[in-house]
């Protein structure tokens, strides 16, 4: 794929930013229009959770896509996509905190401790916080590439925990969480494949490349 000009990349990023806001904007619109359905809190909670997972998977697909399409510039979108996953999970968590528990911290703690799907969900959310906090250029410089890389590899665990969260909260029909699981498996699988191929073609210490 041809590398777009820097000015074009700016426009592409703006467009992607606007697109990423669409699910949230739709929820806000529906909230004011009163068309969030019979159980509005459930609708918002489910939608923001779904989009958190979707953005996590989209973020995880940047690296395979940029290799496949030979489009290194796609990396420039990854931080925004990852931060939107964080944005949606913040809304998701806040809705749960306010409307399921109304700031009853003891009940919140009890849920996190006793309900496996909330344990993994909360853990995934908590793990995303340092990733969001170290997403800036300044932070990358401060940590150094190697350390930053190591920290941000937690996104694999976060993806797994997120899928488990969905799988374990569904009553019986696991089809939708299984689709997310399948996509995640592919996105993690290609990285395993790539790593194996790297080891085979360069048995002596391979050059450290910016991959994740």
């Amino acid at each position: 794929m041809k590398q777009p000009k820097p000015e074009h990349i700016k426009w592409i990023k703006a467009a992607v930013f606007a697109l990423c806001l669409v699910p949230f904007s739709r929820l806000v619109w529906r909230a004011f229009a009163g068309t969030l359905g019979v159980n509005p809190i459930e609708t918002i909670t489910h939608s923001t959770g779904w989009w958190t997972l979707a953005f996590l998977l989209i973020t995880l697909s940047v690296t395979p896509l940029r290799r496949l399409l030979e489009a290194p510039w796609l990396l420039r979108l990854r931080r925004m996509l990852g931060l939107f996953a964080f944005f949606y999970v913040c809304v998701h968590f806040t809705i749960w905190l306010v409307f399921d528990h109304f700031f009853d911290w003891r009940a919140v703690a009890a849920d996190i401790a006793k309900r496996p799907y909330i344990t993994v969900g909360f853990t995934a959310f908590a793990l995303l916080i340092p990733l969001a906090a170290t997403s800036t250029n300044a932070m990358v410089r401060r940590l150094g590439a190697a350390q930053w890389q190591r920290l941000h590899r937690f996104v694999y665990l976060i993806g797994i925990l997120g899928v488990l969260h969905f799988l374990w909260l569904v009553k019986k029909d696991i089809r939708e969480p299984m689709v997310f699981a399948a996509i995640l498996a592919v996105l993690l699988g290609v990285r395993v494949l790539y790593r194996l191929r790297q080891k085979r073609t360069a048995p002596v210490a391979a050059p450290r490349s910016q991959t994740a």
Binding site: N39, R115, Y117, K172, D173
Partner: protein
């Protein structure tokens, strides 16, 4: 005494309120399909004949809590026979044919027989029962059901001494109920009650809600409502009632025995293995409220379970 005049229009021919409310949509799509020539759309039966059911006796068992709006009661449903989404049943239940309809009563009874739905509608005086309904998922509603005590039907068929349980079977027809093509539950849907639960004055054979016959998505044309248990115990679109000596193998028990028991009494102290049952979201409220033991019907039903370990017999 009110003498009902014979109507020349069958209840099943009256356009349902739900369809009537979207009549412009139907007319537009009928025209678009070139059906303006007067052929009736074959696939969809006038969904759930919304005949008015009257007269209705008021009941002392009714709650005076605020009722959940008709719109919510009829568009937010768990009826996996039509799909697992909450809005699937209201969208897809038009394919359910509620006439003709019969309910076969058999098993441990002296007078086994099959009832036509029209007979069941007239078996006993219809009452309005405004009940709380608590779903195992953690939401609840207040619904003005129309029916009469199930005991009225039971005493007519004279259960024998061996009848310890009552088993309800829902229609099995994947053509009318396309959700049955998906094996999310074993079909047909089976539910059951202990004899004393079935004979309890709170348990009603239900034929309507909000003054009209049941919409398809709410379990037309006849269902049972057991308000002190989680909503899945209130079997819908019943075609068979069987009296047995053995405990029925109910659908959710079979599907996930560690999570759904036979009794499934509403109990804030016994959590679902995966989520808490201490609170519920009353549809229409933003914040959750405390769940009540036996869904607030403890005064009427606690005696049925005296001495029972409700954690063991969940």
């Amino acid at each position: 005494m009110l003498i009902r005049k014979p109507a020349d229009i069958l209840p099943s021919e009256i356009t349902s309120r739900a369809v009537y409310a979207r009549r412009r949509e139907f007319i537009k799509s009928a025209a678009a399909l070139g059906l303006a020539a007067g052929l009736s759309p074959v696939a969809i039966q006038p969904a759930a004949a919304a005949a008015k059911l009257a007269p209705l006796a008021k009941s002392a068992f009714s709650t005076d809590e605020k009722m959940t709006p008709f719109e919510a009661v009829t568009t937010y449903n768990n009826f996996y026979e039509f799909g697992t989404g909450k809005e699937d049943p209201s969208r897809r239940a038009g394919s359910l044919r509620t006439r003709p309809w019969t309910v076969k009563i058999d098993g441990e009874v002296k007078k086994p027989r099959t009832f036509d739905i029209e007979e069941l509608l007239k078996l006993a005086p219809l009452e309005e029962r405004i009940y709380r309904m608590r779903c195992v998922e953690g939401w609840s509603m207040v619904i003005p059901w129309i029916g009469y005590p199930l005991s009225e039907l039971i005493k007519r068929v004279e259960p024998t001494g061996n009848a310890r349980f009552v088993e309800f079977t829902t229609l099995l027809d994947p053509v009318q109920m396309p959700g049955q093509k998906v094996g999310v539950l074993d079909w047909p849907y089976i539910e059951g009650l202990r004899m004393d639960e079935a004979m309890h004055s709170l348990t009603i054979l239900t034929v309507g809600l909000y003054g009209e016959v049941l919409p398809n998505q709410n379990g037309a044309p006849v269902r049972v409502v057991v308000p002190w248990k989680y909503g899945f115990k209130s079997a819908k679109s019943i075609v068979r009632i069987r009296f047995t000596a053995e405990m029925p193998k109910t659908a959710w028990m079979v599907a996930v025995p560690s999570e759904y028991g036979f009794y499934s009494n509403v109990n804030p102290k016994v959590d679902h293995p995966r989520w808490s049952q201490a609170k519920e979201r009353r549809i229409g409220d933003l914040l959750k409220r405390e769940t009540l033991m036996f869904n607030g019907y403890g005064d009427q039903v606690a005696g049925l379970y005296a001495g029972m370990d409700l954690r063991k017999y969940f």
